[in-house]
């Protein structure tokens, strides 16, 4: 009897520890995917494929960092795919038609992304419209703007400095280094600053935060601004990979980005999760899609798989939340 009690206690402690470390859940999933890859398509581990995967994952992972802030606050940002598209087009126009340096173009699109995020935030916090509705509206408006300013046409970029960003540095794509820099900066902000703490606190219990006198609207606004900036940087990085601005680029990316965040273990109800876990989530998503391509499974099936991953992740999160809350 006493021994039974000991095992129950031990099991509970292990479960609690497992549930309390946000990265462990997504890491377990990622290890599972890596084992699956070895079994299904050994080409997955070829250096060329790893380089391609890192480049592909960078776009989704950068946007997912910003989305994670919004979801951790208990909101959602559906406009990320359209901001990616707009930033991709604007960067291409600024560099190819207005002779902006790639770095000035990056700064400009990040500013535009931040402004779109701020507009989203103001509608959510000041006008009290649910984020789902607000960002569904901006998703359409921003995509429309991308089509208007590009005239619906593709804009090739012939700037060598810009195209060089698609090369590798120490065996790793430069755009992945850009992602790593963003991850480090935002993780420090998220884990070590007051505002990062408030993001989690708002998602955990917004009423408590308000009753303690913390400016919850300001923090929520800031998370939408981060999301806009990250999506814009993701759009710029996508432009680097494509070597051009495509007005329809980023179409439907919001689903991949949200899936990456949820697969990474960020609760859709907010409060729980981490940026490193979100990164793992993005890699899980992109690795699965990569395995499908290597296994010769077509694009239409990939859509089905994407949706199923999101549903499974949402279901898993519901179970975890049910256990821990």
């Amino acid at each position: 009897m006493a021994r039974n009690g000991f095992y129950v206690k031990l099991l509970t402690t292990i479960k609690e520890k497992y549930a309390s470390i946000d990265e462990l859940k997504s890491l377990t999933g990622f290890i599972g995917i890596l084992i699956l890859a070895a079994a299904v398509t050994p080409q997955f581990y070829l250096p060329q494929n790893i380089t391609i995967l890192l480049g592909q994952a960078s776009v989704i992972a950068i946007a997912a960092l910003g989305e994670a802030f919004v979801i951790l606050c208990g909101s959602i940002d559906l406009s990320v795919g359209s901001i990616i598209g707009l930033a991709n087009v604007v960067a291409a126009i600024l560099i190819s038609q207005y002779n902006f340096s790639p770095y000035m173009a990056l700064f400009s699109v990040a500013t535009i992304g931040g402004i779109i995020g701020l507009v989203n935030g103001i509608f959510v916090t000041k006008l009290r419209i649910p984020s789902f509705v607000v960002t569904l509206g901006t998703l359409t408006v921003v995509r429309g703007i991308a089509y208007i300013i590009s005239g619906g046409l593709n804009i090739p970029v012939y700037n060598d400095e810009f195209l060089r960003l698609n090369e590798v540095f120490y065996g790793i794509p430069i755009i992945f280094w850009i992602y790593l820099i963003a991850l480090i900066i935002l993780t420090v902000f998220f884990e070590k600053t007051r505002l990062g703490l408030y993001v989690r606190a708002i998602g955990s219990n917004e009423l408590a935060i308000r009753n303690l006198g913390v400016d919850n609207s300001g923090v929520k606004n800031l998370s939408f601004v981060f999301s806009g900036i990250c999506s814009a940087i993701a759009g710029y990085v996508l432009g680097v990979r494509l070597g051009a601005g495509y007005p329809h680029s980023g179409l439907g990316y919001e689903l991949d980005v949200i899936a990456a965040v949820v697969v990474g273990g960020v609760a859709l109800t907010g409060g729980t999760g981490s940026l490193i876990a979100t990164t793992i989530g993005a890699f899980i998503m992109m690795s699965i899609l990569n395995i499908l391509v290597l296994a010769g499974i077509g694009g239409f099936v990939q859509y089905v798989v994407r949706g199923i991953i999101l549903l499974i992740a949402a279901l898993a999160m519901r179970r975890v939340v049910a256990f821990v809350k």
Partner: protein, 241 residues
């Protein structure tokens, strides 16, 4: 009677058509635990939330240590030394004990959160108060209801408050734990000469621990009794007249 530290003068508050408080006037002295009782909707929680800066009053004045104060938000009240234990704890289950206790008043060193100092302060406080909380690093969602209530109380005590507002502070505790917490709060108020306003439904506990009892009815102070001169039956009658 010791010096008056808090004075509320003719405070009123309405929510749309509903008048929640109507010209409420009361005083609180140093070292006093003042109980406020009343049926649901009598205005007790609204009064506490006005004093905690959660709601602004529509009219009336609040004086803290003889100086008129105006709380635009809860942080103003906390900075003035008024702390509240909310009925439903108001904790963030996904944050740990340290983060919850210091929420809104974190210790910052070179722009970054200094958890080392916060944990040190908290551990000393826990030792001082003899609170049974397993770890300051444990997420609050893994604590029992009683331990969560202790964290909620702890949050008010870490910053040495002048006035404690307690909205059903022992609602989630066992009888034994309730006794312990209320004895502790009473002793704290007496030894540190702070003030306490206590809202609860347990009339026996009200009579046992409070120094004075105000009865509220329909947003007004309807009666005042001393604990030694009343009983639960009379208090129920006063609440429902």
């Amino acid at each position: 009677m010791s010096e008056e530290m808090l004075r509320v003068e003719e405070v009123s508050k309405s929510f749309g058509e509903v008048k929640a408080l109507s010209d409420v006037t009361l005083g609180l002295h140093k070292g006093e635990l003042l109980a406020i009782i009343g049926d649901n909707g009598a205005g007790k929680s609204t009064l506490l939330k006005i004093l905690a800066g959660v709601y602004p009053p529509d009219s009336g004045k609040i004086f803290l240590e003889k100086k008129e104060v105006e709380f635009r938000n809860p942080m103003d009240a906390r900075k003035a030394g008024i702390e509240m234990v909310f009925q439903d704890f108001m904790l963030c289950p996904d944050l740990d004990v340290t983060q919850n206790v210091f929420l809104g008043r974190e210790i910052i060193s070179s722009q970054f959160l200094n958890y080392q100092i916060m944990k040190k302060i908290l551990k000393e406080k826990l030792k001082d108060l003899k609170f049974d909380i397993p770890s300051t690093e444990k997420k609050v969602r893994f604590l029992s209801g009683g331990q969560q209530q202790m964290v909620a109380i702890l949050r008010t005590l870490v910053f040495n408050p002048k006035i404690l507002l307690l909205d059903e502070p022992t609602a989630n505790l066992s009888a034994a734990a309730s006794e312990e917490v209320m004895s502790f709060i009473k002793q704290l108020i007496k030894t540190r000469m702070i003030g306490g306003i206590y809202v609860a439904h347990d009339l026996n506990a009200i009579i046992k621990y409070s120094d004075r009892i105000l009865v509220m009815r329909s947003g007004k102070i309807a009666a005042e009794r001393m604990p030694g001169e009343t009983n639960p039956i009379e208090l129920v009658r006063l609440m429902r007249l």
